[in-house]
């Protein structure tokens, strides 16, 4: 058998950046289909919390300053964010398993740009997040959620996609550095804290004390303002849009740089 080694540095066309990314993404998606329990876990919390919160906190919308009187409309975008963020973490969890089994080292031997592995992992987690988002949105609609301004729906979709990508980049940046599957269960803590220390549960004007101060500087608050416009009485406004767009660009760029740097300096 003759083995041909490409020393040109450009790699074979079959191993171009996007085709490599697509293969990594497809592999992750096939793995998910073979282990549906992974998706069930991602689905459980946002769906459960949406159902419970829409009953539990029904009276909260009576508080002065609440921009809607429909509690499901208030909580649906937050639960979509939660599903997208935890779905995004799937990129890190999948990579942690691959590192543990030694498969990731073989992936690194793939000719071409290493970043394709990262992009593929983000893509796979995005597919997973979108699946979770569709189910959670369906549950929300079944519970009575209904957009008040359809122009806000694409903005909500953009925010959900962005949150998933950010969750993926965050988990990848961490796993490329710690390289240990046992640390992976700690990844959701950062996301959990960021999501809850914001206007996730009530508007900032209703919060008191430290939460009000912390929520103001948390970029998730701006993302929620962007995403929630579709479901609030106020409708879409530029005032509630621009902060979220800035948060998406800045956070994605920073997390992308952090993850890419981690992968570039990754040594098995």
């Amino acid at each position: 058998m003759t083995v041909t080694i490409d020393t040109s540095g450009r790699g074979d066309a079959a191993f171009g950046f996007w085709s490599s990314a697509r293969i990594v993404m497809w592999r992750g998606w096939v793995k998910t289909q073979r282990m549906p329990s992974i998706v069930v876990q991602s689905l459980f919390f946002p769906t459960f919390f949406l159902i419970v919160y829409s009953g539990l906190y029904d009276a909260v919308t009576d508080l002065p300053g609440f921009p809607t009187d429909d509690v499901t409309n208030w909580f649906l975008p937050f639960m979509l964010f939660q599903g997208a963020a935890f779905g995004g973490l799937g990129a890190g969890f999948g990579t942690a398993v691959d590192i543990d089994s030694g498969f990731f080292d073989r992936l690194l031997l793939m000719p071409g740009n290493r970043s394709a592995i990262m992009v593929g992992s983000v893509g796979y987690a995005l597919l997973r997040s979108l699946f979770v988002a569709v189910v959670v949105a369906g549950v929300g609609v079944a519970l009575g959620a209904s957009p008040t301004d359809w122009a806000g729906v694409p903005l909500l979709a953009l925010a959900v996609v962005a949150i998933s990508i950010m969750g993926s980049l965050y988990s990848l940046a961490l796993i490329y550095r710690v390289k240990d599957q046992r640390v992976a269960p700690l990844f959701p803590i950062g996301i959990f804290v960021l999501l809850f220390v914001s206007s996730a549960q009530v508007p900032l004007s209703v919060t008191t004390g430290w939460l009000n101060a912390a929520g103001r500087i948390n970029p998730v608050t701006n993302l929620l303002r962007l995403g929630r416009q579709a479901f609030l009485d106020t409708g879409v406004t530029w005032e509630d849009t621009w902060g979220g767009l800035v948060a998406i660009v800045v956070c994605t760029a920073l997390l992308g740089w952090w993850a890419e740097r981690g992968l570039r300096h990754y040594n098995p």
């Binding site: 459960f48 009953g55 919060t207 939460l211």
Partner: protein, 262 residues
């Protein structure tokens, strides 16, 4: 340590209880989440929903933080107690359980000892949470008698949840299966009066919460915390926790007998 008398049962259970406490204390991943998450969730909820105490129909209470005291304690105790099942399953997976069974000891104390360890941890957790929440500004009207009753409820509830998780572990021998049942307790806590008065929620939530035993227990302990010592409230809370312990302990004993036969 040989023998079948009550003294040897107690001695064997004591050894297992000590091992259980040491095992949990040495593994922060087992106890840290049940300490950190309930306190974090309490801090966030108190700051987010603090103004809801002004809503018409909200029960008389000096702050939302005080309202959350029983919920935070029970949440921590219930989540922490699943470590009994996790430890049992780990022992079965790594073969230590077989070595224990090969030793000349009665079987039931092995199970009771582990639950004893969980009760000790639940008591410590309750005292720690109470101290932290009072320092953070919560009031505790029940005094020493109320605190003793709440500690008893926590210990019984910790043992009840521990017994349930051990029943799953003994039945399946799998850590994954034990963790898979965790959402049941998660759901029971959130579908109760723990985080908001169900009478204000209304609708289906009020109906579900009113038949949830966790609501009966939380309401009893909340009366102790908010209104002060009351024998009736103490009996209600202790009674629910003790009933759950009897139910789940019988499940665990059945699972133990069945695992010994196989």
């Amino acid at each position: 340590m040989h023998g079948t008398g009550v003294a040897s049962w107690i001695a064997h259970a004591g050894v297992m209880a000590r091992r259980s406490v040491r095992g949990v204390v040495r593994q922060p991943q087992l106890w840290a989440p049940s300490l950190v998450f309930p306190l974090f969730f309490c801090a966030v909820s108190a700051a987010a929903f603090g103004r809801t105490t002004n809503l018409p129909g909200f029960p008389e209470v000096d702050s939302f933080l005080t309202f959350l005291v029983p919920a935070t304690i029970m949440q921590g105790v219930m989540f922490g107690a699943t470590s009994a099942g996790t430890e049992q399953a780990i022992d079965m997976e790594n073969g230590f359980n077989d070595r224990l069974l090969a030793a000349p000891v009665a079987r039931v104390p092995l199970l009771l000892g582990r639950l004893g360890g969980i009760m000790v941890l639940s008591v410590v957790q309750t005292l720690l949470f109470t101290a932290v929440l009072v320092i953070a500004g919560a009031s505790f009207a029940g005094g020493v008698a109320g605190l003793v009753a709440m500690v008893a409820v926590s210990a019984l509830m910790g043992a009840a949840v521990g017994a349930f998780s051990m029943a799953i572990a003994l039945k399946t021998g799998s850590v994954e299966a034990v963790n898979g049942f965790f959402p049941i307790f998660f759901a029971l806590v959130f579908l109760s009066s723990a985080f908001f008065p169900p009478e204000l929620s209304g609708g289906w939530f009020e109906s579900v919460a009113s038949v949830n035993p966790v609501t009966w227990m939380i309401d009893g302990t909340r009366d102790l915390v908010v209104q002060g010592w009351s024998l009736q409230a103490a009996f209600r809370a202790v009674g629910v926790a003790a009933s759950l312990l009897v139910l789940f302990l019988s499940l665990a004993l059945r699972a133990l007998r069945s695992s010994l036969r196989s």
